[in-house]
């Protein structure tokens, strides 16, 4: 029996193509279709139900210490009202899950983790806790989360904030305001709905993640749809997957997982100082002393044709050197004379048409360089691709608002 989010009836009403995602019944796309949903987030805005994700709330004087021990990211400079991407490793250096950690102040932090991972991560933290004063609460059933992503999102959110409208001005990437659990939250929507409003998301585009009490999520969804009008498009998981791939963001348990977290495009989650050494000890840190021959890279192809992940091999000069962990199509991009442009590229040539390009991540047994040509091969076909340092150009995630 699949679990349903508070928005399940809305998914059905919108013609959602429903699928099993981590034990949840979630929409792959709505009747709009995943291509137009993907483009909507880059050109206007898209609204995603992220109610399947879990949330842990940590309290107590030792919360900071427990997080420093169990997350790879060094949060000693994480200010109140700021959040950061991190991974959580076990003693073998393998990824338990990835998370965004929020500093609420007063020795309180939130960890947003993936679908069904709340109990797993909570147990992981509790088992490793050597400190006295910290509690780890799984608040997954008490809240829900939706994401409004895309350049129109700022105007829409300003319209809807009953309290804290000014907090959006100048809010930077990976900053947040308010608290969904506080009736006096600095940020609240019409009807005094307290929200945690975070300038994050998993699309690579400017936007917000909105955490609110579980029983308010339908109201908030409808509010955003009404306020956004034709500037907002409900989006399913297929668009979320293709957008995050183009933005070079990993999917937990697919691009990172039960293997060493090293030599990835996400090494910024490791606490390395300027000298390359770790600035703290953490669970899993000792495993980095051993040499590793595992390297993860983004790739981009030359047309939309995909290969099957897990079953495909990564070939270099005809020899198998690894696997393909994500293979998606970013429908907003295309190549002109070999160079990749997006529908959002101001310098795109007149001949540019976004036909979509296959892209994703490969894991190789040796280092590769951007620009290097590789072949991805499954039982159906071989496709040519290029190792790249970035995929979709001209993303808006970091623009000033």
């Amino acid at each position: 029996m699949l679990r349903k989010t508070a928005l399940n009836a809305i998914h059905i009403e919108l013609g959602g193509e429903l699928t099993d995602f981590g034990g949840w019944e979630m929409p792959l796309w709505y009747s709009t279709g995943s291509v137009r949903e993907h483009l909507a987030v880059i050109e206007k805005s898209g609204l995603f139900d992220i109610g399947h994700m879990d949330l842990l709330r940590l309290k107590g004087k030792d919360t900071f210490n427990l997080i420093q021990l169990c997350l790879t990211r060094n949060i000693s400079n994480l200010k109140i009202g700021a959040c950061a991407y991190s991974v959580i490793l076990n003693e073998q250096g393998h990824v338990v899950d990835d998370t965004i950690v929020y500093n609420l102040g007063k020795d309180e932090y939130i960890l947003i983790v993936n679908a069904a991972m709340g109990p797993v991560v909570r147990q992981h933290l509790i088992q490793r806790n050597t400190f006295q004063n910290v509690t780890v609460m799984d608040e997954s059933g008490r809240f829900s989360k939706i994401d409004l992503q895309g350049p129109a999102s700022t105007v829409i959110m300003k319209k809807l904030l009953e309290r804290g409208r000014g907090t959006i001005e100048g809010l930077r990437y990976f900053q947040f305001r308010g608290d969904y659990a506080d009736p006096a939250s600095e940020t609240a929507l019409a009807g005094n709905i307290p929200i945690l409003l975070s300038r994050t998301g998993y699309t690579g585009e400017v936007g917000f993640e909105i955490v609110m009490p579980y029983d308010k999520v339908q109201d908030v969804w409808n509010m955003i749809i009404d306020a956004g009008g034709s500037d907002v498009t409900p989006c399913g998981l297929a668009a979320r997957d293709s957008l995050r791939t183009g933005a070079v963001l990993p999917l937990s348990h697919q691009d990172i997982g039960s293997w060493p977290f090293i030599n990835t495009p996400w090494d910024f989650a490791l606490p390395r100082g300027e000298d390359g050494k770790f600035t703290k000890d953490f669970i899993g840190s000792k495993t980095y002393d051993a040499p590793s021959s595992l390297y993860t890279y983004p790739f981009c192809g030359f047309d939309p044709r995909k290969v099957e992940v897990c079953k495909a091999s990564l070939l270099l000069d005809g020899a198998s050197i690894g696997t393909v962990s994500t293979c998606a199509i970013d429908m907003a991009i295309g190549r002109v004379d070999g160079r990749v442009y997006s529908v959002a590229s101001p310098d795109r040539p007149a001949s540019f048409k976004a036909r979509g390009l296959v892209c994703g991540f490969v894991r190789a047994d040796r280092p590769l360089k951007p620009g290097q040509k590789v072949t991805l091969k499954d039982s159906r076909r071989s496709i040519e691709a290029e190792i790249v340092s970035d995929i979709r150009p001209n993303r808006t995630a970091r623009v000033k608002i």
Binding site: E17, L28, W29, R36, G356, R380
Partner: protein, 137 residues
């Protein structure tokens, strides 16, 4: 995907179990993807087509459809020589979704054995067949 009531299954065409439709004009068969398949696959973003002059065999794959979700083989309903391919699909693969029976046709085949068409399903039989199916992956 569409419910059975919403499906557009045309009475003037014949169908395969792999969801291709065939329209006969003399000894030529026009082949495309039916409403059931396009609706189940979601947005089609690329169509891999054979060359004109290629030989296709009934029941054998001749190309593929790339949707945002997956890749699916296209199977020929008849044996013969490809005399035309729908070149507009290279630029506008979405025609398979928006007009599966007209602008989204895929290939035309000069049939080696038109009697092969007798083995394909008429619309009533095809509808009964899809009722027995779980949604295709």
């Amino acid at each position: 995907m569409k419910s059975l009531e919403e499906l557009d299954i045309r009475g003037d065409l014949v169908y395969t179990q792999t969801h291709e439709w065939t329209r006969r004009t003399g000894d030529t068969a026009q082949v495309g993807v039916d409403d059931y398949a396009q609706s189940a696959l979601g947005d089609i973003v690329y169509v891999e087509l054979p060359s004109v002059g290629a030989t296709v065999n009934a029941g054998a794959a001749f190309g593929s459809l790339e949707s945002t979700k997956a890749v699916s083989d296209l199977y020929s309903s008849v044996t013969g020589k490809v005399v035309a391919v729908n070149e507009t699909l290279s630029d506008s693969p979405e025609l398979v979704n928006t007009s599966p029976y007209e602008d989204g046709w895929v290939i035309e085949v000069e049939m080696a054995n038109p009697k092969e068409l007798d083995a394909l399903m008429k619309s009533d039989d095809y509808l009964s067949f899809v009722k027995t199916l779980a949604p295709i992956e």
